[in-house]
């Protein structure tokens, strides 16, 4: 759902740039306080994986495709502030180097996918994990719900920006974006579950990295 230039009007592009800059700046400040040394390489590898996975469009229905966004995955693996940084890096490189997503629309894309997508994924995962307890199936349900909802809410944010810009009326663009991303979100959920299951099998210690640790200053 990378918005190209031309879809958004100036007011919406400017407002989302301000919101994105504010969110990324706040996230960066939180990151400097919470980031642990052992998370640094995982951030780089997660970013590389999400970039590559975003190229893997899968067909959902009727000649339409979608791809992983990775906001929930990054948030679950790394926590919200590192996850936000990872998604922002991916979106900036996509816009500057690959002409995927516009430059004026970069604020909206960062807001939708790096801020909304990551924070929704993180909050839903935390909420469901707490409700369902520390069981394998509970964590799986939590991760799927986090991934699905992160895509849904991000797509509705994009739809709202399109409606505010006058590209298409609210009553058309909201249900259309929500409908197609309800399907894409299922793919997001399945890929997120698959990657988390792989990480859990290969390096279960990494899955604890996103959890808020009781003593952040513990000896590394």
């Amino acid at each position: 759902m990378h918005i190209p230039d031309g879809f958004l009007n100036t007011a919406t592009a400017a407002a989302t740039w301000v919101a994105a800059a504010g969110g990324v700046g706040y996230g960066a400040r939180r990151l400097t306080r919470t980031l642990e040394e052992r998370q640094v390489p995982l951030m780089g590898v997660t970013a590389a994986f999400i970039f590559a996975a975003q190229m893997m469009n899968f067909t959902v229905a009727g000649g339409t495709s979608g791809h992983l966004l990775g906001g929930a995955l990054a948030a679950i693996l790394l926590g919200p502030w590192a996850g936000m940084t990872v998604l922002t890096s991916v979106l900036v490189v996509q816009a500057l180097v690959f002409q995927d997503g516009g430059l004026l629309a970069l604020g909206a894309n960062v807001f939708n996918m790096a801020i909304v997508g990551v924070l929704v994924g993180w909050l839903v995962y935390r909420l469901f994990s707490r409700l369902l307890g520390d069981k394998d199936w509970g964590r799986a349900v939590a991760a799927f719900a986090a991934a699905w909802l992160s895509v849904m809410i991000a797509s509705l944010a994009a739809a709202a920006e399109l409606a505010l810009s006058g590209a298409s009326p609210w009553g058309l663009v909201l249900p259309a974006m929500g409908g197609v991303h309800a399907l894409i979100g299922v793919g997001e959920g399945l890929i997120t579950l698959g990657v988390l299951a792989f990480v859990r099998a290969a390096r279960p210690d990494l899955l604890a990295l996103g959890a808020p640790s009781p003593k952040q200053e513990g000896a590394a």
Binding site: M1, H2, I3, P4, D5, G6, F7, A28, L31, T32, R33, L35, E37, R38, P41, L42, M43, G44, V45, T46, A47, A48, F49, I50, F51, A52, A53, M55, M56, N57, F58, T59, V60, G63, T64, S65, G66, H67, T85, V86, S89, V90, V93, L96, V97, F98, Q99, G102, L103, S155, A159, L162, A167, S168, V173, A176, M177, V180, H181, I184
Partner: protein, 98 residues
């Protein structure tokens, strides 16, 4: 702990790059937003980028499109990994300075 785990990260990075090798198999259908923009008639509002580096995830100057796509994916994944790693290092440095 640092030395033995370094090789693990190299393997993990190679695994992420391996995903890029599959990129020529990706669906070429329009994505969700493009589909909605086509259906609702605002797709023509899209403007061309003011400059192009590796447009459409196909490395320019490579004849074989599958290879050009794979190379674009590997370059992008390495760029993104490097940028993220650099930002993380920066965050760690300001953490130490506090």
């Amino acid at each position: 702990m640092k030395t033995p785990s370094r090789r693990i990260w190299l393997y993990a990075l190679l695994l992420a790059l391996a995903v890029a090798l599959l990129s020529p198999l990706a669906s070429s259908h329009p994505d969700g937003l493009e589909r909605v923009a086509e259906d609702q008639g605002f797709i023509e509002q899209a403007q061309d980028a003011p400059f192009e580096v590796i447009p459409d995830y196909v490395l320019p100057g490579v004849g074989n499109e599958a290879l050009a796509t794979i190379l674009a994916g590997v370059i992008g994944a390495l760029l993104v990994a490097g940028l993220t790693w650099g930002l993380a290092r920066l965050a760690r440095r300001s953490h130490a300075a506090v």
